[in-house]
Amino acid sequence: MLSKNIDLYNCFNSSSLITRKSASIIFDEISKIQEDNIILDFHGIKYTSRSFLNELISKDSKFHLLNKNVDYVNMSSDISKLYNLVKNSSGLKSSVTYPSLAKAKTITI
């Protein structure tokens, strides 16, 4: 199996991956690559948003449809934690609850 390393920092020229679009770009790039084994290298990436990771994880399930195996390497501990949190909270919305706003009052200005 042939492997290809994608250096995300050099790819985006940024230490932040914030937007869902960034994840879509990664997916598009992976789609074009001939190699079956892809390594997404997070070296140099300091900040990701939840939205970016959410989108990346949603693309995970589509990689195998492309017959690609994608591994993530060199994630910082903070990004790993957020990645795992997003991955573990995936699923139907009802699994997540936040305080109700029912007690919020309404004023007019």
Binding site: S16, Y47, R50, D78, S95, T108, I109
Partner: protein, 292 residues
Amino acid sequence: MIQINKNSNTLLRIKELINNLRYLEGISQNSNINIASFSFITPLSITPIASIINSKSLKYIYEDNNNSYLETILFPNGINMYDNIFTNKTYIPIIHLDINHLSENELNSQLNLLNDNYMSILKTNIITEKRFIKLITETTISYFLGEMFANIEEHSKAKNIYIFSQYWQKSNSCEICIIDDGQGLYNSLKNAGRNVINSKDALSSILERGLSAKNEFGEIQRGTGLKTTKALLINNELKGEFFIMSGNAAYFQSSKDKGIFINLSNYSWQGTIIMLKFKSPINQFSLYDYVK
């Protein structure tokens, strides 16, 4: 006349902002306006005003000569990210990004870079109390900013973004105001076919149920950005404040109260205004205690 008084109470500042915005709405393009002497300016008080003055090409006259603060924060035009940012200050001057003609990829690149540069300056310059950053963590601040920028990219259809931050050493607190002039929350949801009645309904649906313009059935859950940002701010550790205004509705909550929805009478903001305010925690803060 634009007036900003020395109110430490954020709700009073919000009322004052809305009055100022109402006043500006009645002013024609290219007109002259008077700006009264300002006592104490916060990002929320001034950033939306900068946006309107620029969009209407208004000419402004300061009532007194003590406008040095406004000049130092580069009010109202701001700068784009690629100019030199002043260092060793307690503020990041108004950043104005004109994103009107950018392609999707260019906008994506700009927002990633904005987050990069903004984080770099926040942590090395304006938050001079280094323990603040260590306790709150860069990850937490990047979480706030990242979610706001991601929403702008995905939902706003904005032409302009403004962002302004101020740190106050005395209270060891920081306020960030991010605004866009896009379609707003109600239109974003409505155009995506969501069943929302008005701006307040849109705001409530997003903050309480995490309604998103782009839910896909069975997909990884969306719509958590604003809810989690609010949760991160209004707890007893960061003792922060969260404010959002879009269309003719707004929501404000601090760590001290249950939250207030605000119906705007005879006024509507095109786009979204968000204010994030937070203090240095006493002990080590972990965003994972609040983010689900």
